[in-house]
Amino acid sequence: MISARGENRPKIKVDGQGRVHVSWSKPLAKRFTGDIRYSRSDDGGQSFINPVTVNDNRDPIGHRFDSLGVNDEGRVYIAWLDKRDRETVEQQGGSYSGAALYYSYAEPGADTFEPNIKIADNSCECCRIALDIDPHGLPVLMWRHVYGDNIRDHALVSFLSPGKPDTPVRVSHEQWQIDACPHHGPALSISKEGRYHAVWFNDAEDKQGLFYAYSEDNGQSYSPAINFGDYTKTAAHPYVIAVGNKVYLSWKEFDGKETQILVQQSNDGGNSWRLPEAVSSTGNASDHPLLIKNDRQVFLSWQTANEGYHLIAIEEAPVQ
C-alpha cells in the first residue's frame, strides 16, 4: 500500500549520476499509522533495490508525510511527520500538539539510513513538508508548525552538515490560530545562488490566502510576505520554483464553475512580479499543481480527471 492523497503522495528524484530515488508512506492497519519507505534504481528505473524502512521507531504509529531530497552526489535526505513522541507523552497522561518532524539521510549508494534525528516537536500533522537542496548540497526543510496555543505558522530549518540541523527559524507570522487540519503545506525552492523562495497558505482573520517571501541569509530572515492569488476564488496549494533570477509561482483557483491554474513570474529573484497568467483549467476534479524543471525549462505538472496528465511548458508572461 502507498499513501497517495493530496498532501501525502509518493516522491521521485533523479540525482546527478542518473540514479532514481523514490520514497513513500506505507499505511499500516490502523488509520493515521504508517512507515516511511525508500527505494532506488541504479539502472535508470529498470530495477529497484528492496525497499527499506527509514523510521527507526517501528511501533505501528504515525510515520507519514515523507518528503525526499537528493543532492548532486546522490546523498538522500528524507523528512517526515512522526508520532513517537506524542505516543510517549500521551502514555504518560500528557497532551501533545500535532506530530514531530523527523529526518534521516543515506550516503550516496548506501542502502541503509542513518539513525533518525528529531528536528522539532509540534509540527502540524496533516500538511506536506517542503524540502529543497541548498548550494552546499544540504537539505532545507519548511513545514507548518504549531506555535503556542494552536497558532499554525511556518518554520524552516537548514543544516550545518548532513547530521546537524541548525536551529529552526519561524518564517510566517500570520498567527492563524486554529485547532484543525488545514491539509495545506508550504513549498520551497532554493536558487543556485542561494536565495530561498517560500510560499504558503494561511487563513487568519486579517491575513488570508497565499503568501510569498524570500531569504538572502540562508533562511535566517525573510522579505516582507507578499499576498498573491484571489482569496475569493479560494486560491490554494501554492508552489514555487526558482531558476537563477527567475522565480515562478503556481496555484489553484476556483470560481464556482472552473478550476484554473495560475502562474506568476518574477525575473529579478522575487523583488517584482508580472501579472498572473492562467495556464490551464478544468471543469472537474484535479490534483494540486506542481512545478518541475529540467536544464532549460520550467513545467506545470498537473493531473485532472477529465483531461488526464498535463505537462505544460511555462512560457514567458507578457511584461506588466
Partner: protein, 158 residues
C-alpha cells in the same frame, strides 16, 4: 427445571442476536453529498436551529471532537445536527464505523460523493479552503456563524 431453563436462555440469546442484527441493519447510512446537496440541507432545516459539521476520518482533531459533539447534541435535541464527511464514498464503510463508534449512528450524515471537491466546498462556503473540522451554526432569521477548528463542546455554557 433444567428442561425449562434451556429454551429460555436460548430465546434470550436469539433475542440479543436479533436486536444486534436489527441495530446493525437500522444504522443510518450517509447520504450522497453532491452538487446542490448543501442548498437542500439548508432548505430542509431552515425553520429551526441547526448545526452543520464538516469532518473527515483523516483529521485527528475531528476524531477528538466527535464524541464530545455526540454528547452535546444528545443533551440538546432542540438543535439539529448535520454531519458532512469530506472523505469520499470509497471510505463510506469506515465513516459509518466511526460514526457508530462515537454514538452518532443515528445522526443526519452526508458524505462527499463527487470528486470535484472544489465545487462541493464552494457551495458550502466560497471562503472555506477545506480545513477540518469546520462548522456552521444556523438560526432562523440570522446570518450563519462559521466556527473554525475543533470546538470545545464541554466548555459551552448552556
Amino acid at each position: 427445571m433444567r428442561h425449562k431453563h434451556t429454551p429460555s436462555i436460548f430465546s434470550l440469546m436469539l433475542l440479543i442476536a436479533a436486536s444486534l442484527l436489527s441495530s446493525n441493519s437500522l444504522a443510518a447510512s450517509s447520504r450522497d453529498f453532491v452538487q446542490g446537496s448543501y442548498a437542500q440541507i439548508i432548505e430542509t432545516h431552515k425553520t429551526h436551529v441547526f448545526f452543520v459539521s464538516l469532518w473527515s476520518i483523516d483529521c485527528p482533531p475531528c476524531r477528538e471532537e466527535l464524541p464530545e459533539m455526540a454528547a452535546y447534541f444528545s443533551s440538546h435535541p432542540e438543535i439539529s445536527l448535520v454531519l458532512i464527511s469530506t472523505d469520499g464514498k470509497d471510505l463510506a464503510t469506515e465513516v459509518e464505523h466511526v460514526l457508530q463508534q462515537n454514538g452518532l449512528a443515528d445522526a443526519e450524515s452526508w458524505i462527499f460523493a463527487e470528486d470535484f471537491v472544489e465545487r462541493l466546498r464552494y457551495e458550502v462556503d466560497n471562503t472555506w479552503h477545506g480545513e477540518l473540522p469546520t462548522s456552521y451554526f444556523y438560526s432562523p432569521g440570522q446570518s450563519r456563524q462559521r466556527i473554525r477548528g475543533r470546538i470545545n463542546f464541554k466548555g459551552i455554557d448552556d
